[in-house]
């Protein structure tokens, strides 16, 4: 019996399937999927291919040497990459604000006064209003005692603490004042400066200090100064407690970085400024027609960003930078929490940013070299066969309920690809920038996560909030009970449900916010891209000419992306759904399956 294997090398995974050929008929036996080793299309891929073949063979009790023919795809020479650049930046050169969410500040209200340390209160006078600062070397009893002692002699209006003891101090005060605690860098606050302090009522955010005129009222600012504090007010929105300190030279500024222009070399050349936002960039791209290359203005953020992508690609693929061209972009508007330089409690400010995925075109990929390497290692015949999109269409056709003309949307890690196969067998295809990796990046940026891995997991798995040691509330509102009391580390946390275990999210972000950011990121990338890609390949550029769309690729396995696309395409009366390759594989393995199937149609003179 002859065994034939199909091998598909993708941006992130390598997939294989194995079939037996008997009396001119193919029987599919099994498949496997492994991480792609190295950049797609390089000889480093061989390790991943061998690992995947080994896994598939082991399941079938055979060895990779038993395979008589391996067919690998002519991988499209396109590779996806992502980058992010903030457009605005808030810099506070002299420390002049605190805005954060300590879990337990005390005493709601506002206060204005001169800053003074607890130790210097004695040297103060009776007519100046003071805001007292105490570092953590003072115990709460000592702080409260001192303030009570000076209740008549000094006019203390508010207090800033380094330790987490605001409630403890306030409970012991004879005259209640608003207190902000957990201010890590309290020693950086200058003494003798006019400061305004606000603690919000439970359940709401500060009102005076998140309003430029509120700050102007409390600190008696003129119009010019009020303009200067606007970025401070902006960054205090939604905070439970805040302090604004007036420093002699208004030292906060919102700097607009030279964001730069994007130059699109195409049928119709286009220039677009990145400040104009994602929509304008995407409009310019669609006006441009066939794109030869895209680059950015030198010495600007976007210029550096695009140059970095090309440079990175030339390093991994071992080609000259001149030969690497960017043929597509997907730009997405986003807001990134950026740590404010000079802040006193690690505050962040939401800055406008643009996330960009680029499609990088290289020379023809050296697939023959990979084939040679496989031949010599396995001592078997290896053939580079067929165009990726055609193979994917062939594989997708094995999904029950499909017919020609058929469109496939390959939702991958690095790119979103579309192809339409007509009833005559002709195929039109397009590769577009922006897929799963851009979604991961957007999630990481918008939630301000430390680890990319956490963002990747948030993309993949549904959320739940552990409400007691015995139950959790799932993101859809359902409640699930645990058979035994759960470990205390999960209590009160937001967790990801992988199906096997739970992953705790360390960052303190409400579940609703994570869900909203995750869904929005997926929608911005995949819905935008799916429409764009199908429009490019649809007969007469009209989506209505496509009767059915089969979703394939890794991101088609996602638990909500296919539903989002289904909803979108329902508007065009298109049947759209997750593929089920060979009735068993789900949306995976389409190309590998197509490679094996196409064996029957090929002439086999050269195989003998």
């Amino acid at each position: 019996m002859n065994y034939i294997a199909g091998v598909d090398i993708g941006n992130s995974t390598t997939e294989v399937c194995i079939a037996a050929l008997e009396n001119g008929r193919l029987h599919f036996l099994g498949s496997a999927s492994k991480m792609t080793t190295g950049t797609k299309g390089t000889q480093a891929n061989v390790a991943g291919i061998l690992a995947a073949l080994k896994e598939a063979c082991e399941k079938l009790n055979m060895s990779a040497g038993d395979i008589s023919l391996i067919r690998i795809n002519e991988a499209a020479p396109v590779i996806g990459d992502t980058a992010m650049e903030t457009i605005t930046e808030t810099i506070i050169t002299e420390s002049s604000m605190i805005g954060h969410n300590p879990s337990t500040p005390a005493g709601a209200g506002q206060a204005v006064g001169r800053t003074i340390s607890l130790g210097h209160l004695k040297q103060g006078n009776s007519y100046t209003p003071y805001i007292v600062m105490a570092d953590k070397s003072h115990s709460y009893e000592e702080v409260a005692d001192t303030l009570n002692r000076y209740a008549q002699a000094r006019n203390v209006t508010g207090m800033i603490l380094q330790a987490d003891e605001a409630v403890l101090v306030e409970n012991r005060l004879e005259r209640k004042i608003p207190i902000v605690d957990e201010v890590r860098y309290i020693d950086k606050i200058p003494e003798g400066k006019l400061a305004a302090l606000e603690v919000a009522m439970a359940g709401s955010g500060v009102r005076m200090l998140s309003n430029p005129y509120g700050i102007a009222t409390l600190l008696e600012l003129d119009a010019q100064e009020t303009k200067m504090v606007t970025p401070i007010a902006k960054s205090l929105i939604g905070k439970r407690s805040a302090v604004v300190i007036k420093t002699p030279h208004g030292n906060v500024r919102e700097q607009i970085l030279p964001a730069g222009e994007i130059y699109i070399e195409a049928e119709k050349d286009q220039t677009v400024n990145i400040d104009a936002g994602a929509d304008a960039i995407m409009r310019a791209l669609s006006k441009a027609g066939d794109i030869r290359d895209i680059h950015g203005q030198e010495q600007t953020n976007v210029g550096n960003m695009l140059a970095r992508i090309k440079k990175g690609m030339s390093t991994v693929s071992d080609e000259n930078q001149e030969e690497i061209r960017i043929t597509d972009l997907l730009a997405v508007d986003t807001l990134a929490p950026v740590v404010i330089s000079g802040a006193l409690a690690g505050e962040t400010c939401l800055e406008k940013a643009v996330g960009i995925a680029a499609m990088v075109k290289t020379r023809q990929l050296p697939m023959e070299k990979i084939a040679d390497e496989l031949r010599s290692q396995l001592k078997t015949k290896v053939k580079v066969a067929g165009v990726e999109a055609v193979m994917a269409s062939l594989g997708a056709m094995t999904t029950p309920g499909t017919r020609l003309p058929l469109a496939i949307l390959d939702l991958g890690g690095g790119s979103t690809d579309a192809a339409v196969m007509t009833s005559k067998g002709t195929v039109r295809m397009v590769h577009q920038a922006g897929a799963g990796e851009l979604v991961t990046m957007l999630i990481q940026i918008e939630l301000g996560l430390h680890s990319r891995n956490t963002a990747e997991q948030i993309k993949r798995y549904p959320l739940a909030k552990v409400e007691s040691l015995f139950h959790m509330r799932l993101e859809n509102g359902a409640i699930e009970f645990f058979p035994d009391a759960i470990e205390p580390k999960y209590f009160g946390s937001v967790v990801l449900l992988t199906g096997k275990d739970m992953i705790r999210i360390d960052e303190d972000i409400p579940m609703e916010k994570i869900v909203a950011v995750r869904r929005e990121a997926k929608r911005k990338v995949f819905v935008t891209n799916a429409v764009r890609a199908l429009q490019a390949v649809a007969p007469e550029q009209d989506l209505k000419n496509i009767p059915n769309v089969v979703l394939v690729g890794g991101s088609a396995e996602d638990f909500e992306i296919p539903e989002m696309l289904m909803e979108k395409f329902a508007e065009y009366r298109i049947v759209c759904g997750r593929g089920n390759i060979r009735r068993t594989e789900g949306p995976r393995n389409a190309v590998a399956t197509g490679l094996v199937l196409s064996y029957l149609g090929d002439s086999h003179v050269d195989d003998e």
Partner: protein, 108 residues
């Protein structure tokens, strides 16, 4: 008469432990009640405190050992237990008994 509060059951408790644990609860803004009890076993103290607290959250302190418990958790399976703890550990234990009531993440 059984006011909603975190119960702290103690037996020969070291004063500073008791004080810091109570400060931890107070800072979180949850009421608490301290009672001297006859049993000397910290597991039993914590278990009884949690079972009898209307809020279902309790702490036991015996000598230099303290434990936090929640209602319906078997005796001995303390949520947290600290032996000869420092100041911060005591504050955290107190804060966690309050956070359990507030359904907030524990300080770990």
């Amino acid at each position: 008469m059984n006011k909603p509060s975190v119960f702290v059951y103690i037996c020969d408790a070291r004063t500073d432990l008791l004080q810091e644990i109570c400060a931890g609860i107070e800072e979180e803004g949850v009421p608490y009640e301290v009672r001297e009890m006859p049993m000397q076993d910290v597991d039993a103290l914590a278990y009884a405190a949690a079972e009898e607290s209307v809020l279902g959250s309790g702490i036991g302190i015996a000598g230099e050992t303290a434990a936090m418990q929640l209602r319906k958790i078997p005796k001995g399976q303390n949520i947290f237990k600290i032996v000869q703890p420092g100041r911060e550990q005591c504050r955290a234990l107190g804060a966690n008994s309050a956070r359990a009531v507030k359904r907030q993440k524990f300080k770990i």
